[in-house]
């Protein structure tokens, strides 16, 4: 195997990592007891309660979830050979949304406020279950004497349409208060996330990221037409199935922790692709871009309308969309003149 180091990719990764650390520190700094950056650093080293138990887990959840979603998006876009693809067409995020909205609407009207504790424990599990069920459904329906990228996209559209509309319908059934609560979760929120949310995503990333990076060559080959990929020595079906499994795992765990944070999975790979100037979504850079995007969005979500806190998923799109558009325009200017 041959590694070619792309200078632009290295620069993007290094700048991204520095920005990520800085944003996380700024995130930890704010709260009921404001701290200076020095105090944040000391708090992490000395194990201060506020830093270690309340603020660091939230910041970490955001960064890890962003990285996982972005990576899942990059893999999906490569397999589908489509820049508009995201884990949504794998049934993960939409499946999780339906399950959670159903849970909130059902328990909200039956048990009233008393179900709060049950729900806070139950939502991640419900989301994980819904995500995996949704993915299993798409996968089994798309499999027919092998996995074809185009058929996967079409089946994914169909399943997503069912899930999304059932979700909309559930939102109209429940009480408007439950609808609002459900909307917060659907948008993706980092409110009150603790170590129990960090750990699953961390473990998933620790296992799946090395696998994904090792499989980069396969993913590269899958971008080409089927014949070309085969002649490059890739066994198409196992390769595609394996990569989809990776993407599903990453997206499902991330969604369970923080909800389906919008736009990260779709935009991060496209931003990374344009930053590095490579031919396909680069996984590592995508992950870093995703982490930076969510960390920055969380900072804005908490400070923009303080003391009211917005769900982070609302800000990711507000922040990511203009940046992606800027990159699109700048690149066009560069290529055409």
């Amino acid at each position: 195997m041959r590694f070619r180091v792309r200078p632009r990719a290295v620069i993007a990764c290094v700048t991204g990592s520095i920005a990520l650390l800085l944003l996380m520190a700024l995130n930890i700094r704010i709260g009921d007891i404001p701290m200076s950056l020095g105090e944040v650093l000391r708090g992490v080293i000395e194990g201060d309660f506020v830093v270690m138990e309340l603020r660091l887990p939230r910041a970490l959840t955001g960064a890890l979830v962003g990285a996982a979603l972005a990576m899942a998006g990059g893999i999906t876009q490569s397999i589908a050979r489509n820049p508009l693809a995201s884990p949504e067409i794998l049934g993960v995020t939409t499946g999780a949304s339906v399950m959670v909205v159903a849970g909130i609407v059902a328990s909200g009207s039956v048990y009233g406020g008393a179900s709060g504790l049950l729900l806070s424990l139950g939502i991640p599990v419900l989301a994980l279950l819904g995500g995996l069920l949704g993915a299993a459904l798409v996968y089994s329906l798309a499999w027919r004497r092998g996995l074809d990228g185009y058929r996967l996209v079409l089946v994914g559209i169909g399943v997503a349409a069912v899930f999304t509309n059932v979700k909309y319908w559930l939102l109209t059934v429940g009480d408007v208060n439950d609808t609002t609560r459900a909307m917060v979760w659907i948008s993706g929120s980092l409110h009150g996330r603790g170590w129990e949310h960090v750990l699953p995503v961390f473990l998933a990333l620790a296992v799946l990221v090395p696998v994904a990076l090792a499989a980069t060559r396969t993913l590269d080959a899958l971008r080409f037409a089927d014949d070309t990929a085969m002649s490059l020595g890739v066994r198409l079906n196992p390769a595609r199935a394996g990569m989809i499994l990776l993407a599903v795992g990453l997206a499902a765990v991330a969604t369970a922790s923080a909800g389906p944070i919008a736009f990260v999975a779709l935009a991060s790979p496209q931003i990374a692709l344009r930053l590095t100037g490579s031919g396909r979504p680069p996984l590592l850079t995508s992950a870093i871009v995703g982490a930076v995007l969510v960390a920055a969005a969380d900072l804005i979500a908490r400070t923009a309308f303080a003391p009211v806190e917005l769900p982070v998923g609302i800000v990711t799109a507000v922040l990511g969309a203009p940046y992606l558009i800027y990159l699109l325009i700048r690149l066009r200017r560069g290529t055409r003149t």
Partner: protein, 330 residues
Amino acid sequence: MARTRILCVLAAALLVAVALSITIGAKAVPLTDAWQALTAPTGSENDIIIRSLRVPRTILGVLAGIALGVAGALMQGHTRNPLADPGLLGVTQGAAFLMVSSIIFLGVSNLYAYIWFGLAGALIASVGVFALGMVGGRGGPTPVTLALAGTAVSAFLYALTSAIVLLDEQAMDVFRFWQAGSIAARSADVVWQIVPFIAAGLILALVNAPGLNALSLGEDVARSLGQDVNRTRAVGVAAVTLLTGASVAACGALAFVGLIVPHLARHLSGTDHRWLLPYSGLIGAALLLVADVIGRVVAPPGELEVGVVLALLGAPFFIALVRRRKPVRL
């Protein structure tokens, strides 16, 4: 001509769907009585139901179904992307954003006013996306630039809309029903409001079909065939915007009709847009009406929103079709 025959069959299917939509509902009206209500009304209960409820609802369903089916086929053709829905250029989210804003900032509570705001939002968003695609480059926007810029603007507007409805319960209550999509309880006035937009959109779409066929051979080939690529694309975008904007303003976020229906139509027509567009429109309208009728009878005494029924009904059929046959690629 096999293609003409298919067109006739689809038109007949739409007629049957229209008849079903007029006769079936909370109160079933026999076809003869319905005919009488239309031709020689006597002011009976049936006549009132037919003339003031069923007919506007049916016409709206036909209009929106045709519009979204055609718009979807155009959008997928122009972006050459099977994931493109007619709301891709920000049309749906533009409509939603301006409608919700009008509720919260201007205190608008009148249904007709919503529709104008929705339409305006759709137009502004779509023109904005097209302009963003134009910025920078010499030529017009490429399909990928358009699709990505549209997705980005949609996500941006959806985020703003979500923020507003999360902060305002009244806006949330309107928004969640708009989002589910419905062709019910719209009076004849709403129908007449959107007719001119949809008619203009359909004419532009039909004019656009031959140009789109040339474009699907690739831009260079299209140019060498004497096509003005930028103009073809601009006409297509204008058609999509008018069709989708009018439909979603009146019926809510039903844009996914336009995502699925063209794939069904492509199985019958192949990739020739001169046939794909009419097939898509007819299938879209028939499917929308049938879904609406089922939604009326399936959960008495209430109704199920047409969007849900459509997804539950159309998507499995679509998936079965995708599995059975080799997909017709764009």
